[in-house]
């Protein structure tokens, strides 16, 4: 790894740019990730937002951001980022603004938009090698409308639109691979409970020109049905069980953060109400086993590639 400002936890930014008192739920894992990303990017950032939970960050006439914000629509935030980026480039090339007036352009979107209605616009921005950061807070459902099933909802989870005995029959879409198939400049998965890893990745991403894709697992107390104080613990468990692999895509290769002594998935699942039906009133070994097998297969493939 190249030189980093963030060698240890005490190197992380001590002043925080995102204001308090937003309308987000207590314990919002998405907001925690955005806060950490923003501190590394700095206030000369314009967030171009897709419809989702975070749309309620800027509510007239207040904003928690020191920098700028543009809300677009659910389907086309990457195209909004395109317009802002292109306009800034035009203004710079015609001498209407100076280099130091430039901004980091960040598309801020949830998994519902990223994996579904906004996927076409995301693919388009990747095809055009747009120089921007794409930050997806992945709370594994349409969180802002009460956690209906999205393409990111994991296997076995119950949602507001999935009351089947065994939960969601489908598996979570592999958005990271969808992105990397486009050969972006950079892509990484992060989670707010690993702030040093997150800061290093955002720092590294910004050394690249082109699409920089960040996928942040965002534990959601209201949508996943758990005590808000467990947000960081669930983030840690998602990593330790191997459910949320921390990885980077650089120069055409995916590199994983290895896990020593992977924990069984049920340590992560059993803390969340959305998986409660897998444990009560009777334990559903079949579905728990399917989830564990899915994770095991994933890591076996990672080991195979590495071997």
């Amino acid at each position: 790894m190249s030189e980093t400002l963030f060698k240890r936890a005490k190197d992380l930014p001590s002043t925080h740019l995102l204001g308090a008192g937003t309308a987000m739920c207590a314990g919002c894992g998405g907001l925690a990730a955005i806060k950490e990303v923003y501190d590394v990017l700095g206030e000369n950032t314009v967030f171009v937002n897709a419809a989702g939970c975070m749309t309620l960050l800027s509510v007239y006439p207040f904003t928690p951001f020191r920098g700028s914000w543009l809300y677009t629509a659910m389907a086309s935030a990457p195209a909004g980022a395109q317009g802002v980026r292109d306009a800034l480039d035009i203004l710079k090339s015609t001498g209407k603004i100076a280099e130091q007036d430039d901004l980091n352009v960040v598309c801020l979107t949830g998994d519902g938009s990223a994996g579904g209605i906004g996927l076409s616009a995301t693919s388009g921005a990747l095809d055009r090698h747009l120089d921007f950061m794409y930050l997806c807070y992945d709370n594994e459902g349409y969180g802002n409308t009460g956690q209906q099933t999205s393409t990111a909802t994991p296997h076995g989870a119950r949602t507001a639109t999935e009351h089947h005995k065994t939960g969601n029959p489908d598996f979570k879409k592999d958005l990271f691979s969808v992105w990397t198939a486009h050969k972006p400049a950079y892509a990484a998965t992060v989670v707010a409970s690993e702030p040093l890893d997150l800061a290093r990745k955002v720092e590294r991403a910004m050394t690249y020109k082109g699409p920089k894709m960040i996928l942040a697992l965002s534990p959601c107390p209201t949508g996943w049905d758990y005590d808000p104080q467990l947000t960081m613990e669930l983030g840690r468990l998602a990593v330790k069980t191997g459910i949320w692999p921390l990885k980077e895509y650089i120069d055409g290769k995916v590199v994983h953060s290895r896990i020593k002594g992977r924990l069984p998935v049920e340590e992560y699942l059993s803390l969340q109400g959305r998986f409660a039906h897998l444990f009560n009133p009777v334990r559903n070994d079949k579905v728990i086993g399917e989830i564990q097998a899915h994770v095991d297969e994933y890591w076996a493939a990672v080991e195979n590639v590495a071997a």
Binding site: V48, G67, Y71, A79, G83, I90, T94, S120, S123
Partner: protein
Amino acid sequence: MSQQYLLTGNKAAAWGARLARAEYLPAFPITPQTEIVETLEKWVSQGEMKSKLVMLESEHSMLTAAGAAAATGVRVYTATSSQGLLYGMEMLFTLSGWRVPFVLTNVSRGLSAPITLEPDHNDVLAARDSGFLQLHAATCQETLDATLLAYRIAEDKRVRLPVLVNLDGFYLSFTREPVSIPSMSEVAEFLPPFDDEGLSFRAGKPVSEAVAVLGGSPYSYFRYEAHLANLAALDVFDEVAAEFEAKFGRRYHALDCYRTDDAEMVFIMIDSFATKARDAVDRLRESGLKVGLIRPFMLRPFPGDAIRQALKGKLCAAVVDQNLSMGKGGILHTEIASEIYGMDGAPAVLTNYIGGLGGRDIGPEEFYAIATETLDAAHTGKRLPTRLLYKTDELREIRKLQAIAALERQEA
């Protein structure tokens, strides 16, 4: 110095963007608008136009990029048609709310289903309530001129709204007419460089745009503001049109009136098919009928005062709608009716004809029938329902095709 060229409507629209020095051109192809995109791309690639053209992956994204770039402080031009306009419809309503000035050309084309290519106005009229201003061109020259007028009006500090310039697919988009192209320097005097009015994204100058509101009160506040700005464009249009005339010698009115002064009966139409009505007015005048034509060049804001003035004291009027609001009738008809209802000297009869859907022709004999039927209704006081123009011959042709197809199937 201006020079005369034979240009298609699409080329005239592209020239409008070029003369306006549009800096950013988000694009997506769709028939019959594609020639605009191709023309602009060629000019940009060959260095004749110093702009950035970007092909987006949909009209929805194209309009989002257009609005975002305008919000960042550059002059933007874009174009679409029909299904594309509808695909981007969410962003039309959104971008007027952003109060971003830019120009969007719509090349009218009938909507699916059935899928077709030739024009009518259900596409552009679906955008009627979006908050975009609308100018409707009847000729290729008007297409170019409307584009220049549109930038001045859009960027006026009393307005700050996007403007849609409409021209008809095929009838204008692919028809060559003589067009006077003014010089870049003349246009530069008429249209100064883009002024962001302090609203843009820059380091150290944080701005939040298009934020959410909670509740009906702030929502109503912003919607009313946009509506009032839209209405303000009525006066702005008159000022800008006067300047345009002084500079280029062509006078535009929000409402174009032709031989209406002594008319008893008036046709009301928009866009290129209005030139057919204009021709019909001349023919009908020769046969002794006192007829005229009014054509809203600007449809949003709606030139209500001018329409009331033009129709005051007329015996009757016929709105020929090249659109169909299914289950009701013509859209323009209801707009005109609401404007003149209860007015002193309002025409006793306001008939409604649907014609020109999907580019179906409206012939001189049909204009004759419309005029005489409407005059007759005025004299007898008979109320006419909305009439769907369709001739016996046409129906026979359709029946014939159906019969042949049925026979082919039986024999197969």
